[in-house]
């Protein structure tokens, strides 16, 4: 039958997609359901779902029964990420506005330079940065993890901001300037409120990258009092006994929840941000 072919094709397409999707999320599902299984069951069964459900692993992780208390670590990670979000918004909006709207002699040169540093791998400058922070006694504080964001060290955010501000009609600025509006007020009262979508995208990415950061936290934080989630998980992995996989999985799952929640709420901004990276870059 001629008519049945599109239907068959659509069924095949869905079957392929369902199998693919299941394979893709299987590792996450396995981890999630393992965190709800008693320890004896995690590696002894091929069944995905627990036969007995338990929330004990989650309680252990936050009560210290697992040997480590993850509560303060989550607070530290949140604290660092929140400050980095503020710092990124601060530096990206100020420099983005200057590059997109203000006239100054070396603008093109500096903008080109800024774009050039987008390709510069962070690992190349981490040794001197570490030495600088070490010299001024700021290793084992959160400052080395927070301060760079205020200095615009993620050129991608500035670029995102420039692109966005360029899309705002210039008539607005001109009208405001004719009315005697100062440059700062133009920025603060007219441009900044209009860049909300770009600000949200920058917030999401800076939060994600800080929350997931491991390298920076690993080199700068050596004090158990300052442990973040990333450091806590890796130390737990290194020091735990063979029977604590449930606890570890539970805390790993909790560690990705903020990322998931933001994804569900702000999916549109996130996808736009990723697309900007590729389409205009």
């Amino acid at each position: 039958m001629v008519k049945s072919r599109p239907v068959t094709r659509s069924v095949i397409r869905h079957v392929v997609l369902i199998v693919l999707t299941f394979l893709m999320i299987y590792p996450i599902l396995w981890m999630f359901f393992s965190s709800l299984k008693p320890d004896s069951e995690i590696f002894s069964t091929t069944q995905l779902l627990p036969s007995t459900w338990t929330f004990q692993h989650y309680l252990d992780g936050f009560s210290g029964a697992a040997g480590m208390n993850f509560g303060p670590m989550f607070l530290h990670s949140f604290e660092i990420a929140a400050v980095v979000v503020i710092g990124s918004l601060f530096s990206a909006s100020l420099s983005g506005f200057a590059f997109a709207r203000l006239n100054f002699a070396p603008r093109k040169f500096l903008f080109g330079f800024m774009l050039g540093t987008m390709m510069l791998p962070a690992q190349v400058v981490m040794i001197p940065q570490y030495i600088m922070f070490h010299r001024v006694g700021l290793v084992n504080t959160f400052v080395p993890l927070m301060l760079p964001s205020f200095l615009g060290t993620t050129p991608f955010f500035i670029y995102l901001m420039v692109q966005f501000i360029r899309g705002i009609p210039k008539d607005l600025d001109e009208a405001a300037v004719m009315d005697g509006c100062s440059t700062f007020r133009l920025f603060r009262s007219i441009i900044l409120p209009l860049t909300k979508p770009a600000l949200i995208t920058i917030s999401i990415f800076s939060f994600y990258w800080t929350w997931d950061d491991f390298f920076g936290q690993l080199i700068y934080l050596n004090n158990p009092q300052l442990n973040t989630v990333s450091i806590g998980l890796s130390m737990f992995l290194a020091n735990m006994g063979q029977t604590q996989w449930g606890d570890l999985f539970a805390m790993s799952i909790v560690s990705v929840i903020p990322v998931l929640v933001i994804f569900i709420i702000c999916q549109r901004y996130l996808v736009e941000g990723i697309a900007t990276q590729g389409l205009k870059g």
Binding site: V124, M126, L279
Partner: protein, 308 residues
């Protein structure tokens, strides 16, 4: 008090405009102060400092001591350096194309508005959203455990699974798979790219009787080539930087079979405090990345179509 004439208003406006542009010149530096500080201190200054350090012996405790090119001489004779170069290149050469092909194929599959497509896209994207975290690397480690679910499945179909992370041949494969699994971010970029291809290209091709496959190879891929190129370059750079996954999964083992370059760099700098040596390693890394991306840019003119 007469009303100002048009001429007066106009001249006042042009004055304001003139003063605005000179004022904005000064203001610009005000707005750029944070970024310029960061650039001078954290980027440019740091780069120069790295170059200086590379020619010194420095352990953080005593002052850096100038030793000329000795670090570079030693690096060239350091077997671990060559191992890390080999491991990293194998990884880049396998994982970057694999990830690119996977993302392109799946994006093609998902580029159709069928029922529930948003859910498929979101779920397939999910691994790249959280896959870079320590938590997921830990899960991956146990997934490929001797007694983990991968081997259980293999056993169920009558195969004997290897000791994935304990075997030099398979350990790097597990790390490659973890990377390929996160093809979602490239996929999202490709999906956005598909939308930018003008529909009339396909319409006229269909009228000319071109098959769907032909259209894919003669319209879609050339039109996407700038995006493919972008993903290729970014993927290459980030693959050179691989650290977290290796640190959690194998920590360089077994028998240095996963001694990635950045892991070796980390060990030299922050476990042995060979800061000068590590600075030299990081300069070599920068050169390697520059050469590789430079090479990709050279090939670009043969296959990237910027103006179709």
């Amino acid at each position: 008090m007469g009303l100002p004439t048009d001429a007066v208003v106009a001249s006042r406006h042009s004055k304001r405009r003139a003063s605005w542009s000179s004022r904005s010149g000064l203001a610009a530096y005000g707005f750029l102060t944070p970024w310029m500080l960061g650039m001078l201190l954290m980027t440019l200054g740091a780069m120069l400092f790295t170059i200086y350090l590379a020619f010194t012996n420095y352990d953080l405790l005593s002052q850096p001591r100038w030793i000329g090119a000795l670090n570079f001489h030693q690096i060239l004779q350091d077997p671990n350096f060559w191992t890390s170069i080999r491991v990293t290149f194998i990884y880049v050469v396998i994982s970057v194309p694999a990830r690119l092909i996977a993302s392109l194929l799946v994006a093609t599959l998902l580029n159709k508005e069928v029922r529930g497509i948003g859910i498929y896209r979101a779920l397939i994207y999910l691994p790249s959203l959280i896959g870079g975290s320590i938590g997921i690397s830990i899960g991956w480690k146990k997934l490929f455990d001797v007694a983990g679910p991968i081997n259980s499945v293999l056993k169920a179909v009558g195969l004997h699974g290897p000791v994935w992370l304990g075997n030099p041949r398979t350990a790097i494969l597990v790390i490659v798979l973890l990377s390929v699994w996160q093809f979602g971010s490239e996929m999202v970029i490709f999906l956005a790219g598909f939308k930018q291809i003008p529909g009339y290209l396909y319409e006229s091709a269909t009228i000319d009787g071109a098959s769907a496959v032909r259209q894919y190879f003669h319209i879609t891929l050339p039109m996407l080539s700038p995006i493919i190129f972008f993903n290729l370059v970014m993927g290459t750079i980030s693959s050179f930087m691989t650290f977290t996954q290796v640190y959690v999964l194998t920590d360089g083992g077994p028998m240095n079979s996963t001694l990635f370059y950045v892991l070796y760099l980390y060990e030299q700098a922050f476990q042995y405090y060979h800061m000068g040596y590590a600075a030299a390693l990081s300069i070599i890394l920068l050169i390697m990345i520059a050469v590789c991306t430079g090479f990709l840019f050279l090939t670009a003119k043969f296959w990237v179509k910027y103006d179709v």
